[in-house]
Symmetry: C2
Subunit: 647 residues, 2 copies
């Protein structure tokens, strides 16, 4: 690893998203999602699954009576909401929301135990049992999300109540877990604390926090296996005993440096990989970078859907094996795609390579935002690439796939996760080091950067995802140094102009490198061709053989029943069909629709039996209408398919 | 229903199978399967799952100590074995085997309770709990299999010990269950007793036995729902509470006359449908025939695989919905295909229509015998149409699919079921009524029939399944009347000769009707064209769209990895490819192999990413080698596929 090339994300305050597309999502989060989720966390959304989050804290703080409700990780939903609030307050001051957050933090702190411990499940069910099942009971996961919220809220408001609570909880964990004799030699069954501790370390610079994160990474999967010992010692039931996963479900089948493939629960795996990249960056440990890079390749080159979704099976919400990417029984949890975005950004920090940004963009524009309805009040947990509503109801193998977004979930990890990601979208646009700024995503924004010690104000404008016209203008300051602009992997050709004049620039790892003495008024325009593209999958992906997906720029498109009729499997796309792109400002929040001259095979079947000698299939022309995948399931229940047969 | 047209199967003693193909299977059952399964039932097969069957009876009879082992329906495995033994003794006297069977029956009778009750699970776990969970605890199922064994053994040997025990158990059930006040208004959670009682009634002519069978059919699904009431009354846990099945899992969602579709557990459904047909025949109840016919169409025209397998999902081992026939996650239990054979034969008894026999043949030659290895010692429970061994291991949705046959199962319903079916194969060849004999299956055999009161000996010779040459010779007797010969649905053309001279015959419901004064020496030869056929599925079957299966005569063929290399999904069959049929006497017990000039798409993928702009797919010629589906997985573990893409 070349530490000279490391980059860091810009502080959120230095990035003001002004983009119509992502700005719209951010407004949605501020105006709809955060208030809606507050109601949900307070169990006030009619018809939605109960959350119990606030209730649990109130009981734990002694302000109400009752029992703990929900999952062992219920606390984390509130923490993710608080983190989203923190980003929201950075985007737009809101004294009322801040007051509510402060009160919530005050409630959380009131529930904290004298030694710093804070997990309402154990506070309400018996503190004597705490730390007896790190494998399954998510205390360290709740700690992680609390810490992420605390860091975000501190950065947003300067208030340190939650930060100090997180530090006290970290200290409590450090007293109980670690390499020393008498401590538990354990690590989180559900990762996230690794990332969180590195963020905490970024503020505290307390070696203890780094050491704990590093310990969680290094100790994972070491023999004797902590989870196995712990399970025996405490009589914990091992849910995955008779599966092929066993401890790989928890990414504990091997020490991380010996893991060859991304295994098990996809969200956990993505959070672990993000944590590995974080610790690699802070410690400069090459072997960890190699581990992260190896897992990156495993995920993105062999186990990722075209939408950036990951996790092929609902059993264990998990990876299965290389090139196993079924479109209809997929899991593709929203949180897992979010985790992949986290991982990609961290890999970009280690090494600015467009491959990382390509995946980040793929996940963001497709598998992440498909998780939320256009009105911000309904959510997908599972993001399928092919849906037949009847199958979701009557095939128990597909019952995890919902043909419509849900109001809330008993296990509600995804809705607040998407809220915190969207509210912090600015952190994924660019990373920088002393002498260079890397633009990874073409999201319209105003950016304040420091280049070779000198402040520079940049304005990024972009037609993404609808057209490829982008423009970067220096709006203030002057500085010499590099601005590197990503050339997306999907783009066959782009045109560069600097201050209006055609220009060329050397490329490295997928970035155009512009080394220059930047002056206010300098304008770089970069036009990316954004043709409609038929995309094929690696032929080892059995489920996609003979099929293509239609993409344009960063967007994957899909067919919906309401545009194309039912029985989508009868539609085919001739290999010479021409595509037409049409702007539809009033459809689905304003999209570009793609149409193509396709064909529909006849559903006629001249016999009563199910099987008959094959005859040439009759077909009739049909205009195929594709909409962006992220926007599906906003017009009622119906079939949907990303892949279609090419003929 | 036209009762004049009803037919009945020939007594097993009147049918001597001499066919190389089915005779071979029968020898296997006699020489290998029955002895092997005896060892299994006695827990003496190394490495096989424990059965506990004999053990349970020994303990129940007070001859050994211990606890009940295995499932609540464990007894039925032994009963099915005994039934197979009964047929075996009909096929070939075997004093040693008969002695063993007699001893076993003596053991069974010794376990019977004074009031006739006989189920080792409750005898060993508390008789006070008997009849408290008809829904799930299989007492009536065990009774059914006991009765079927008893009837078969009585017919085979004339010995009535087990028959009398079955009658006593039937009386016990009749005292406890029925429409009268104070009795349970229940019926079996797992059907089979309906069929069994009708067989028992065939011997006893005791109206009580018919009445009970009829009650089980009529009462099923009536409101208030017995299973629901029983569950509440006894606090039985309802396993299917949160599924779409609920009581449809047990075919109890509706009274049988109002059931529109075959639902739930496929074996139970098939046994119920068989029982409906049986009761329809004995009572002449048109509404029951209509119910049976409606369910027949639901299964065979919308929910049956090309192999005759039924049950699309491992969850509930069940039907899902119309045209939902996934090839890789299929259940297709061997017992369910056997149940479909039972059902088809009973429909033929009601009305000789070739459609019924076509399905019977399809299931027998494909989805049934695929359940047993060519050496008779290993068994499939699940019969997939597409297998990738890695998926069976690493995709939990496919872990029920095994890429190799197993020695035995903890739940061992299938092995003895296939044994009893193969040993009684003669009962499926023909049915008769006073003035007609219907030949349904072209299985070589000598048949003794009575035609218009006069005995006639027939010899049926057949090249099935390898060639379509068949010959029926009158070898003794003389009689006037009809011999009807089925023209299989798969056959495009056949040639009829009578005594060497070309002949024609009228056809009705798929049978050629030969009305004649039959004399010894009369010979009817019927040559069925047996071309290799590409078969397509109804286009509503999503999983098979764009694909064909290769069949020849009654056999469905498949591709195996050991003949065709791995990645079978890359293989395509050009629509103009010619087929070649080759006799391979030394391969897989002697088969005809089909080859065709196919193509293999390149697995080359010029990029490191999973997705890339679609380019024309390169392919190279490859000879495709197809073997009969029933013979797959006899040469080690590898991929297999029935359907392949047509190009």
């Amino acid at each position: 690893m070349d530490k000279q090339k490391f980059t860091h994300p810009l502080p959120l305050k230095s990035v003001r998203v002004s983009d119509g597309f992502w700005g719209g999502y951010q407004c949605l989060v501020l105006d709809r999602v955060i208030p809606y989720q507050w109601e949900a966390l307070n169990d006030r959304v009619p018809g939605a699954d109960r959350s119990g989050c606030i209730h649990n804290f109130e009981v734990a703080a002694g302000r109400a009576s009752g029992e703990h409700y929900g999952w062992v990780f219920q606390d984390s939903d509130l923490m993710k909401w608080l983190e989203a609030v923190a980003y929201a307050l950075t985007l737009r001051p809101d004294p009322e929301l801040e007051r509510r957050a402060d009160e919530t933090i005050e409630l959380i702190c009131a529930a904290q135990q004298p030694d710093g411990y804070l997990d309402t499940y154990y506070i309400l069910n018996g503190l004597d049992k705490r730390f007896t099942n790190l494998r399954d009971n998510h205390e360290l996961y709740c700690f992680g999300h609390m810490t992420e919220a605390a860091v975000a809220y501190y950065h947003a408001t300067g208030k340190d109540a939650l930060l100090n609570a997180a530090i006290r909880f970290a200290d409590c964990i450090d007293r109980n877990i670690g390499p020393e004799e008498g401590k538990l030699h354990g690590y989180p069954g559900h990762e996230v604390a690794e990332m969180a501790l590195i963020r905490l370390y970024g503020i505290t610079r307390d070696e203890k926090h780094l050491r704990l994160a590093k310990y969680f990474i290094d100790q994972r999967g070491q023999a004797p296996l902590f989870f196995e010992e712990e399970g025996k010692r405490n009589g914990n039931r091992f849910y995955w005993e008779n599966t092929h996963f066993r401890y790989e479900y928890y990414q504990a089948g091997w020490p991380v440096r010996r893991q060859r493939t991304a295994e098990g629960h996809a969200v956990r795996a993505a959070y672990l990989m993000s944590g590995i990249a974080d610790v690699a960056r802070v410690t400069g440990d090459d072997s960890l970078y190699e581990a992260a890079e190896r897992l990156w390749r495993s995920v993105t080159r062999r186990r990722m859907y075209v939408t950036g979704a990951i996790g092929s099976s609902h059993v264990g919400e998990a990876f299965t094996f290389d090139f196993d990417l079924p479109n209809d029984t997929v899991y593709g949890e929203t949180c897992a795609a979010i985790g992949l975005v986290f991982f990609a950004r961290r890999m970009l920090e280690l090494k600015p390579r467009a491959e990382y940004a390509d995946v980040m963009e793929r996940a963001l524009y497709n598998g992440v935002i498909s998780g939320i309805s256009l009105d911000g009040t309904r959510f997908f947990y599972v993001n399928p690439l092919e849906v037949v509503p009847e199958a979701c109801e009557k095939d128990e193998n597909k019952r995890h796939v919902k043909p419509e977004r849900q109001k809330w979930f008993g296990c509600a990890c995804c809705p607040p996760n998407i809220a915190r990601l969207l509210a912090s979208a600015g952190q994924y646009i660019a990373t920088a080091r002393d002498n260079a700024v890397y633009i990874h995503l073409y999201i319209g924004a105003d950016l304040d950067v420091i280049l070779n010690g000198r402040p520079l104000s940049l304005r990024l404008r972009s037609g993404f995802p609808w057209n490829g016209q982008t423009e970067l203008t220096v709006t203030g300051g002057t500085a010499e140094g590099r601005i590197a602009l990503r050339a997306p992997g999907w783009c066959p050709h782009c045109t560069l102009r600097i201050n209006g004049a055609p220009a060329e620039a050397p490329a490295e790892d997928g970035y155009l490198l512009l080394d220059r003495d930047w002056q206010a008024g300098d304008t770089v325009s970069l036009d990316f061709d954004m043709p409609v593209t038929r995309v094929a999958a690696d032929p080892r992906v059995r489920e996609d053989i003979g099929k293509v997906a239609v993409t344009r720029g960063p967007l994957v498109y899909c067919l919906e029943e309401c545009d194309n009729g039912s029985s989508l499997h009868l539609l085919t796309l001739p290999s010479d069909a021409a595509f037409d792109v049409r702007e539809c400002p009033d459809l689905l929040g304003g999209i570009r629709v793609i149409t193509a001259g396709g064909r529909r095979e006849s559903a006629e079947w001249g016999t009563e039996g199910l099987y008959a000698p094959a005859a040439p299939r009759q077909s009739v022309p049909q205009t195929l209408t594709f909409i962006p995948y992220y926007a599906w399931a906003n017009r009622g229940v119906g079939e949907m398919s990303v892949w279609l047969r090419e003929k």
